[in-house]
């Protein structure tokens, strides 16, 4: 008895009839076929999934095949479901996966199994959904019959709130299990922690697994029936096993010829036939073609015979397997010698969707008869074969779809990224080649009226060169088709008259047989480009391919637009950066010629041009004063009329002139040597000078024709602006530098010390005269305040008094008197911006003045003192009112006499000085005993003069003869002794000595007085000089002439005088005179 409900109406396409038909078996076989079909689909799905973003296609492959395997083997629905859900969860890293069964009427759903964290979710089994009343993802999927995803369940209006919350779902996906286009169950999956996006790839894989599961469930239901049938018919056991085996074998293979070959092999074995064959129908031509044989020579393959002929024709007509036990007597046998000798044959038609697709047959030669059962099995096999056939077709289709889809994804992913133009074009080329299964591809875009190959994928060099070099003009049909927006396909390039010969040759040389050319609209109405894809095999293009190609064109346009935006943005950024760099470079350049040289180097780099030239307006001509890049050498110095084209136009219009192909114009070439040198594209902008005058023209050139983009023109204008600013700067600087050099030269050469300070009072100028006068080098003084380096401020304390001022500054140990004038520089607001000091060293003048003045007052004092006494005592003696005694009168007269003598001696001294000054000093050298002279001098020292001093005298016993003028010698000794007394006001010992040296006699006078500072020891022998603070410390009188006279006298006598002194401890003056020869003679005697 037939099992209830298993043989549904869908058994009809097989249309099997016959007395021994076992109704139960058919659905089973059908189920097996579907399982096989599902399994057969897997690799396609796998390939599709591997194009997705998931990291490990191998793992997916394993996973899916494991599921498939599991599904193929198991008889446990729940086990199948569990495996499926667990695999899904693991594969997609999901926290939750569930299977829900939909009722036959599609109005409600019941939870079947749910898995979460490797555990069953028990409550799911009690879950009921009213699909018509309660909104849910499951309901949506049931009604739409397609998969759907929800990114955020919390905000979605589609999902069931209660279920989402019970599960804790963040993102979810719902996939239907379709059986005969009816949703029998729904797989729900969800993430629990993180939201995630389910890609189309993900859904595709899930869908595949779902189909797998759907088939498996069907098969399970069928499998139960099959087992029952087997139990009922033990005899059929072996055959059933073989059938199953055959099904298994068939299901493991996708390649149609192989599938059919296996079918034939299995068939022959199963039915114990001598041979088996399989023919497919070529519907268009109405012929069967042999595709698989068993037990025949392989030459039978591809043999064809008409649809209605032979047993096959009859079987097709009757729509069922036919047994023929008298094959040789068949009226219209299949006309092939291979069939000679067969006695018993069964032939079964293969149907697909009520259409005959082919026939299979088995035959025996030795008269063993086939029974009706054999025919049934063959019929079953025919069903199996048509399924396998369909599988294989579906596979091919799926594979293509997968490829198309991958192409779409690839293009989409290119579209999705902001890539540079070059990267985008290469990605497009690759996507195009991959999407259409091409070997290589090229993208060509319009540029200045031609097509330029800008992106290639695996394109051989010679083809790339060809595409690059070739003028894609109207001669080329490809170009015309592109312009007209037509897709061009060429199945056989080599024989295609529409292709130009060089392209045909190059294609053939690279083994390319087919190509497709897809027009692409360039962004911004810039014309059309094309995508060219080459195929190594002879390729026919179906609607899918054309669809894909059109899609490719759209995508390419999108990607180009996007990359253009990206490029524009990047270009703008790069331009801005480059401009900044250029501006910085220019503003730091202070030589106008260098500025222009820099500009003609920088400007072309800025706008991707190859050369640049600057033309200066000179009278009514433009002269190239700077040029960079190719042809620059020749163009330098060349002249063109200011009213001419190109640069002249720029000059006249004061606006940029941009030409993509200026080089093509003979007249323009004649005017511009850069164009003559081979450049083509021209972009010129005016360079302004001071007061709105146009200074010249800056132009850049490119050797190939090119359009100048708006931002490039802007950039060049900006460079021109920088240039004119930099030129003004540089010229200004040059002028300033010249001025400055002049000033420096002047300052360096004037005798006055010039010091300038800035507003902070720091030295910024310190000329060489200032160095000389102050003894401070400029390197020390610069950047410091004058008061820090001079110990004295140069600035006037009184703002009002700006006249000449005397400022003493120390220079080493001496004091230098500066006569300083000062000028104050003020900024426009009136604040002090700096000061300039000019000064002379008047120390010399001042010293002379001072010394003279001192001398005058000293001499005056020296003269007036004795005069006072002389005059006073004379007046006194003349008094009438007082009678003086004789003794008093004597005293008065004595004073008059001694003071008169004193006056004489002072006058003598002055005369001596005068003689020394004029060189008139007369010395009368004679052998003189130094002891005598020293003695006389000491005798004249009065008690009063020696007040508080002790004299120590060292003189030899024997005469000490020197060659000297005795009077002059006495004067010298006298001066030294007087000085010793005068400069030791606190008393102490005065040591006077004379001693014989080698050839000289040395006389010395030492005191314990105030001493002489080291700095003064050289000066004291100078005229009028007195110890700088001698007056202060000693109040000492004196003319300041003593040591000057002493040195003059000693020198005149052929000797020398010196001093050694320690400040505060005393001085020792000594002089030496030549020893008298007589003395030596005397000694000898």
């Amino acid at each position: 008895m037939p099992g209830p409900g298993l043989a549904g109406p869908d058994a009809a396409p097989y249309n099997l009839h016959g007395p021994v038909r076992t109704p139960d078996l058919l659905p089973t076989v059908r189920a097996l076929g579907r399982a096989a079909a599902a399994v057969a689909l897997l690799p396609a799905v796998l390939r599709r999934s591997s194009s997705g973003r998931r990291a490990d296609p191998t793992r997916e492959l394993e996973s899916v095949s494991r599921v498939a395997d599991e599904l193929a083997r198991t008889a446990d629905v729940e086990g199948v479901a569990r495996t499926l859900l667990d695999e899904l969860a693991e594969l997609f890293d999901l926290g939750f996966a569930a299977l829900t069964i939909v009722s036959d009427d599609g109005r409600e759903a019941t939870g079947y199994l749910a898995r979460s964290g490797g555990e069953d979710v028990d409550w799911w089994r009690e879950m009921h959904l009213d699909l018509e009343r309660e909104p849910s993802g499951i309901a949506s999927v049931v009604f739409e019959a397609t998969a759907m995803t929800v990114y955020d369940t919390a905000s979605s209006g589609v999902v069931s709130r209660r279920l989402a919350e019970a599960v804790g779902a963040r993102s979810a996906a719902f996939v239907p299990l379709l059986v005969e286009e009816r949703v029998t169950a729904v797989i729900s999956v969800a993430t629990l922690d993180e939201p995630r996006v389910f890609s189309n790839d993900d859904l595709a894989v899930m869908q595949t697994l779902a189909s797998e599961a759907a088939v498996a469930f069907e098969r399970l239901r069928a499998g139960v029936a099959l087992e029952e049938a087997l139990k009922r018919n033990e005899e059929q056991l072996a055959q059933q096993a073989a059938l199953l085996r055959a099904a298994h074998v068939l299901s493991s293979e996708l390649d149609l010829p192989v599938v059919l070959q296996r079918l034939a092999d299995q068939l022959a074995q199963l039915l114990d036939a001598d041979a088996a064959d399989c023919y497919l129908l070529d519907a268009e031509r109405g012929l069967f073609r042999c595709v698989a044989v068993h037990g025949f020579d392989r030459s039978l393959l591809d043999f064809e015979f008409p649809l209605g002929q032979g047993l096959a024709g009859a079987a097709v007509r009757e729509g069922r397997p036919l047994i023929e036990s008298a094959y040789r007597e068949l009226p219209e046998p299949v006309p092939h010698p291979a069939y000679d000798g067969f006695t018993d044959v069964i032939t079964a038609p293969m149907f697909w969707s009520d259409e005959v697709r082919g026939v299979i047959g088995v035959g025996r030669r030795e008269g063993r008869r086939f029974v009706e059962r054999d025919a049934e099995i063959l019929g079953a096999f025919a069903g199996l074969a048509s399924l396998a056939l369909r599988n294989a077709e579906m596979f091919t289709q799926s594979a293509r779809q997968a490829r198309v889809q991958r192409g779409f994804y690839r293009i989409a992913s290119v579209l999705g990224q902001s890539l540079s133009r070059a990267a985008t074009l290469e990605a497009i080329a690759q996507a195009a080649a991959e999407a259409l299964g091409g070997t290589s591809a090229a993208v060509l875009v319009p540029s200045s009226g031609r097509l330029e190959a800008v992106g290639t994928y695996e394109l051989p060099a010679d083809l790339a060169h060809l595409l690059d070099e070739r003028a894609w003009d109207s001669r080329s049909p490809l170009f015309r088709a592109t312009v007209e927006g037509r897709i061009v396909v060429s199945r056989a390039i080599a024989e295609d008259e529409r292709m130009l010969p060089d392209l045909r040759a190059a294609s053939a040389a690279n083994g390319y047989l087919s190509l497709i050319s897809v027009p692409v609209d360039a962004p911004r109405d810039a014309g059309r480009g094309l995508v060219l894809i080459f195929f190594a095999e002879q390729r026919s293009f179906d609607d899918d391919d054309l669809d894909l190609a059109r899609h490719l064109a759209d995508a390419t346009r999108g990607a180009l637009e996007r990359s253009e935006l990206f490029e524009a943005e990047r270009g703008a950024r790069a331009l801005a950066q480059q401009l900044t760099r250029t501006g910085r470079l220019l503003t730091s350049e202070l030589d106008p010629a260098a500025v222009l040289d820099e500009v003609v180097q920088q400007a072309p780099a800025l706008v991707n041009a190859e050369a640049g030239a600057f033309r200066l307006l000179e009278g009514d001509e433009l002269v190239v004063t700077a040029a960079g890049g190719e042809g620059a050498e020749a163009v330098l110095g060349s002249r063109s009329p200011a009213s001419g084209w190109l640069s002249g136009d720029v000059l006249q219009s004061g606006a940029p002139v941009a030409l993509a192909q200026a080089g093509d114009d003979e007249r323009l070439r004649g005017l511009d040597p850069m164009l003559q040198a081979g450049h083509s594209a021209f972009l010129g902008v005016p360079v302004g000078g001071a007061e709105g005058v146009t200074l010249g023209v800056l132009a850049v050139y490119a050797s190939v024709p090119r359009e100048w983009r708006e931002e490039e023109i802007e950039a060049l204008l900006a460079v021109a602006a920088s240039t004119s600013a930099a030129l003004s700067n540089a010229e200004l600087y040059q002028r300033v530098a010249l001025e400055r050099e002049r000033s420096v030269a002047i300052l360096a050469n004037i005798a006055e010390g010039i010091v300038a300070v800035d507003r902070d009072g720091k030295v910024v100028l310190w000329n060489s005269a200032a160095e000389l006068i102050t003894g401070v080098s400029a390197s020390v003084a610069l950047g410091r305040a004058p008061v820090d380096v001079l110990q004295r401020s140069l600035e006037s304390a009184d703002e009002a008094a700006r006249g000449e001022r005397l400022v003493p500054i120390p220079r080493g140990r001496e004091e230098v008197w500066l006569s300083v004038t000062e000028a104050v520089m003020r900024d426009p607001l009136g604040a002090v911006a700096g000061r300039i000091f000019a000064f002379r060293d008047i120390s010399g003048d001042r010293l002379v003045e001072q010394v003279k003045s001192d001398f005058v007052s000293t001499v005056s004092h020296e003269l007036r003192t004795p005069l006072t006494s002389i005059y006073g005592f004379a007046e006194t003696l003349l008094r009438q009112d007082v009678m003086f005694g004789e003794e008093e009168r004597q005293t008065f007269l004595r004073y008059i006499a001694s003071e008169s003598q004193r006056l004489t001696s002072i006058v003598d001294t002055l005369l001596n000085v005068a003689r020394l000054d004029t060189g008139d000093l007369q010395v009368h050298l004679a052998e003189t005993d130094v002891r005598d002279v020293v003695g006389q001098v000491l005798d004249t020292v009065t008690a009063a003069e020696a007040n508080g001093h002790r004299f120590v005298v060292h003189l030899p016993e024997e005469p000490l003869a020197a060659t000297a003028d005795p009077e002059k010698l006495r004067q010298v000794c006298s001066i030294l002794v007087e000085n010793a007394l005068r400069y030791s006001p606190d008393g102490g010992t005065v040591t006077v000595g004379a001693v014989r040296r080698q050839d000289t006699v040395e006389v010395s006078v030492a005191d314990e007085g105030i001493g002489i500072p080291q700095s003064d020891q050289e000066q004291i022998f100078r005229k009028f000089y007195r110890g700088s603070d001698a007056e202060l410390r000693a109040g000492a009188g004196g003319t300041g002439l003593g040591l000057f006279i002493a040195r003059g006298l000693v020198t005149a006598m052929g000797g020398r005088i010196w001093v050694s002194s320690q400040e505060g401890e005393g001085s020792r003056f000594a002089f030496e005179l030549p020893a008298a020869i007589a003395d030596s003679v005397e000694t000898e005697r």
Partner: protein
Amino acid sequence: MSADMDGYTRPVPDRGEVRVLVIDDEAPIRLLCRVNLEAENIDVLEAADGTAGLDLAREEQPDVVLLDVMMPGLDGWRVAEELLEDDRTRGIPIIFLTARAEFRDRARGLDIGGVDYVTKPFNPLELAPLVRELLARIDRGERDELRGEKLAELRTLIESE
């Protein structure tokens, strides 16, 4: 009594004994001063240097100091400054004896606080009247006027040069 009428120098009010301190390093000058002042009944004290002069002035409280400027050791300027700084000697009028020709030296003496100056060489006979006239005007409270006159005189001299 009317001195104006007989043409004689007007007799100064009798101050009793007038004493003058002479500070000068030159012995002949000191003698010159002494002889001529004593001849007109003015007592004279002598010091040969600044230090001795200061001591003497403090001890003896002379009525007038004749002070030489150029002296070894403590010079006349310093002596004058110390006399004027000391409460005991501040009131004593100082007449500088100077051999310095420059006006600035004379002015300096007045600046320091001297009331008059005598330039060497001088007529010793004029010393006594000078001292008496000075004292008389100071007694009349004309000390400052005196200095003012001397400064004005000096200024005229400087300007005329």
